[in-house]
Subunit: 415 residues, 2 copies
């Protein structure tokens, strides 16, 4: 696996762009990904009972792709149209109608069917999208589509909301003697704190892989990557992760879980991991990426439960912001996670580029140097490691610190 | 039931005081409640797997009181000794030993047994309590004990950490022709955000009530009161609620669930409700008390789940701080609560002293006036009401807004 430049236009046959269609005041607010070659598509979506209209639209298409009988009659997906600024959530039948209008407008322009167009939105909940501006945006984007790195970056910029950095990544991997590329972009100052109520991730690949294994690879990777980004309770109505595969790399189709599948999975998982960490680091108002590793767990589930509990704790997150090794808060957050373990056996460490320090041994603070702890916690990426000494399983969760700016961003978001 | 002045010294036979024993730099940091008449005692404690040493100490005593066989041999509790500043959590066997030393010192001074002394702590986790200062504090407090309102207030002041107001309440109720008094004090900028990792609540009453019914009344009331204060994930290691009953009111002993029990329960529940709301309103950094009522639920459990999800949402709390009716966030937080309901049937209202406004009807925002909504959200107590139209059950949860000051308080708490 080789990391390369680029994002959603890195793989063969994918074009993209982003424009300012007037949904936001003056920023780019619409993106398009297009592949002339039809794509297989895999998707995972928010578990929130309240689902945005575009989530419902995409779920129907992905579901029908994953249904063998329907899939045989389905030519595949060509385009994804995304807008930022308005989430199209809590918008009733009218909002769902606008998803159809968006797909229909795109289909008409490209001479495809409306069910070959996926849509996604991110922004304020409870407001209808300005469908006229959306349709104008689609017309603007068609002639600007580009397979260059620039095209991908324009798209990645256009899906940003409170994000402060563009999030793109791409890798190459050899499959059956052919070079296969996977690239992706995402937005989200997190499932961490989904201000705009959305994590959106779009991944494109020229891999030739069966529908079944494409969905399986994505569904296997998501729990270890995006779902390990701290959810501070606010699971979005719009969370969407889509993988489009157009097969243009020309590798022999992956139809079973062989070495090629494994290599593809690892590359996809790497893309997802990088994007997930980029989201964590760009959490709203964050000054530091915060990683929590639980080691020595009896089961993966136990490690996941404990690591997520610690990475989501407001008190722990505020402590990271303050560079203050108030170590009891880590143990406290482990204790209310719901997982069972012996507090009197736990060791806890802090680690960063500045070093590593043991702060709790067998449930009691060590006589660590506060100065050294503060130095370690002052880096832009900080890891807490908890060893619960019950077995061999581990889990890693990602989040960020809780800062003044988080409040600032969220107290008056719409103004 | 009649609301009266005072707190833990309102009921007959209870004395209290608070002093500065040097645990904190210059503030009061130790409190004592004492009753010469032996008391029955009921208690509820944190569910955190990591329990502070004083929680373990008190749990053993309360458990033994609730065990009929032991209780027959037990003369009852006389004193509660509380310190603020250090939580005595994550302190191992050494920390538990200091609980015994605290009880032992008190027992020696008052000529009672060490298992007749309850202890509680609140403050920094992972630090040993300065037992010498604690013992000196106990010596200082004995001669200062007072049954006046002032004595109760001194105690209520001494248990404060980041609390900004003293939290006391008392009521009178007629039971069997006698006036029975219940008074209480608590501290806690919440289970909401237990910075100091603690809600402590102490209630005293001169009611004559059986051990079994005293514990039953407390255990029935706690889920509807303290446990409806928003827990933002950070359940403390030290949470403790104790009720001491010395029987001095002289009412016929309440031994069955008759009218007297009902009247006692209602008075106790009122005390707990008032104290719970006082904690919510004094949440760390809070500028407003935030109440969430779910009505029209099919079951109490469903109403509780949804109301707690909304009151705990960082995004909703930040929105209240910003006086910004970003109504989608309410529906979003309902949707990820885990409870099942039809989002397309939900109505949502905001209500405060400034009026009431319907912001969502059947899952979609109404054309409400932003100005009016902002006016309603600008009060110091704000209620969100969600009608899910499935039945007759309701629940009310209490919290507060999420503000700049919360971050300030928690980022560098120990310094």
């Amino acid at each position: 696996m080789k990391k390369i430049e680029g994002g959603v236009t890195a793989a063969k046959g994918f074009q993209a762009t982003g424009v300012a269609a007037g949904i936001k005041k003056s920023k780019k607010d619409m993106a398009m990904i297009y592949s002339e070659a039809a794509c297989r598509v895999a998707g995972t979506f928010t578990t929130n009972l309240v689902k945005a209209a575009p989530v419902k639209w995409d779920q129907e298409i992905v579901k029908s792709c994953n249904d063998a009988e329907n899939a045989a009659r389905f030519a595949g997906v060509h385009a994804v149209v995304v807008n930022s600024g308005v989430a199209n959530a809590c918008t009733g039948a009218e909002g769902y109608g606008y998803c159809r209008d968006t797909a229909s407008k795109t289909a008409e322009l490209f001479g495809i069917q409306e069910n070959q167009v996926l849509v996604a939105s991110t922004g304020v909940i409870g407001k209808q999208i300005p469908i006229d501006k959306i349709c104008t945006g689609i017309e603007m984007m068609k002639p600007q589509l580009s397979d260059t790195k620039k095209g991908g970056t324009l798209a990645a910029e256009a899906i940003m909301t409170t994000d402060t950095v563009v999030k793109e990544v791409a890798v190459e991997v050899e499959l059956g003697g052919k070079t296969v590329t996977i690239g992706g972009m995402c937005k989200g100052s997190g499932m961490i704190h989904p201000n705009m109520c959305t994590m959106l991730s779009f991944i494109t690949t020229d891999a030739n892989i069966s529908q079944e294994l494409l969905q399986k690879a994505l569904s296997t990777s998501v729990p270890d990557t995006y779902n390990m980004v701290s959810i501070d309770g606010d699971t979005s109505t719009n969370d969407t992760c889509l993988v489009l595969a157009n097969g243009l790399a020309g590798n022999p189709e992956i139809t079973e879980e062989n070495e090629d599948y494994q290599a593809f999975y690892e590359a996809l998982n790497e893309i997802n991991t990088v994007l997930a960490k980029k989201m964590a680091a760009d959490g709203e108002g964050a000054t530091a990426m915060f990683e929590v590793k639980v080691v020595g767990a009896a089961s993966r589930e136990q490690a996941v439960t404990i690591s997520k509990s610690v990475v989501s704790s407001s008190l722990v997150k505020a402590m990271i912001y303050g560079h203050d090794a108030n170590c009891g808060r880590i143990l406290c957050a482990m204790g209310y996670s719901g997982a069972s373990f012996d507090p009197d056996q736990v060791d806890v460490y802090f680690e960063s580029a500045a070093g590593k320090i043991k702060i709790i041994e067998n449930g009691v603070p060590t006589g660590y140097s506060e100065e050294e702890a503060t130095r370690i916690l002052s880096e832009s990426a900080v890891t807490a490691i908890a060893d619960i000494k019950m077995g061999e399983e581990t889990a890693t969760a990602w989040g960020c610190d809780l800062t003044h700016d988080y409040i600032k961003i969220n107290a008056d978001y719409r103004s």
